[in-house]
């Protein structure tokens, strides 16, 4: 029992998955999206569908292109910055709370 108490995040309880996201408000989070898209930015709002609003977002898209002459595959990471972004929840695969994950 005592162990369980200690494991809990102080101040607010974490009982269901979205509680962990509530604790990430105003923190920089990492979001993995469908179609090899990744977002890093500050979480300002979310709802039960995982619709979110993020600020100072860096989006990374991984694509593959085929060189027309050599037929070689070229893997590209395209990055762009978006100051304020609404993200529709149905494209979200996972949300990772405040950065341990580099950058």
């Amino acid at each position: 029992m005592a162990d369980e108490q200690e494991q809990q995040v102080p101040v607010q309880n974490v009982e269901e998955p979205l509680d962990l996201i509530r604790l990430s408000l105003d923190e920089r989070i990492y979001v993995k999206m469908r179609n090899e898209r990744e977002l890093r930015g500050r979480l300002h709002a979310y709802d039960q569908h995982l619709n979110m609003i993020m600020g100072d977002v860096e989006e990374t898209v991984t694509t593959v292109e085929i060189d027309e002459e050599t037929y070689e595959e070229i893997y590209k990471s395209t990055k762009r910055n978006i100051p304020m972004l609404f993200v529709r929840g149905d494209g979200v695969i996972l949300v990772s709370p405040p950065m341990r994950t580099g950058t």
């Binding site: 607010q12 979205l18 509530r22 300002h44 709002a45 979310y46 619709n51 609003i53 978006i82 609404f86």
Partner: protein
Amino acid sequence: MLFYSFFKSLVGKDVVVELKNDLSICGTLHSVDQFLNIKLTDIQVTDPDTYPHMLSVKNCFIRCSVVRYVQLPADECDTQLLQRCSKKRGSSE
């Protein structure tokens, strides 16, 4: 309802709606409903060569389910208020 209210507060502002088929449409937010269907006026497609069919369209209705992102005007977003509302709803659910 949080995002519905939020989008209603942005009516009249310029946004860029990015769809899941990679089409990006920039326009003035005309209206939004509770499913987050969006109506834009004075639209411009960011890549008109790839999407020539949009050239004759000025106003459009976008079905909620095809939206990937909406790029928002940062100055018009009260992030403190958004965070407060998210916190409140999160703990009451």
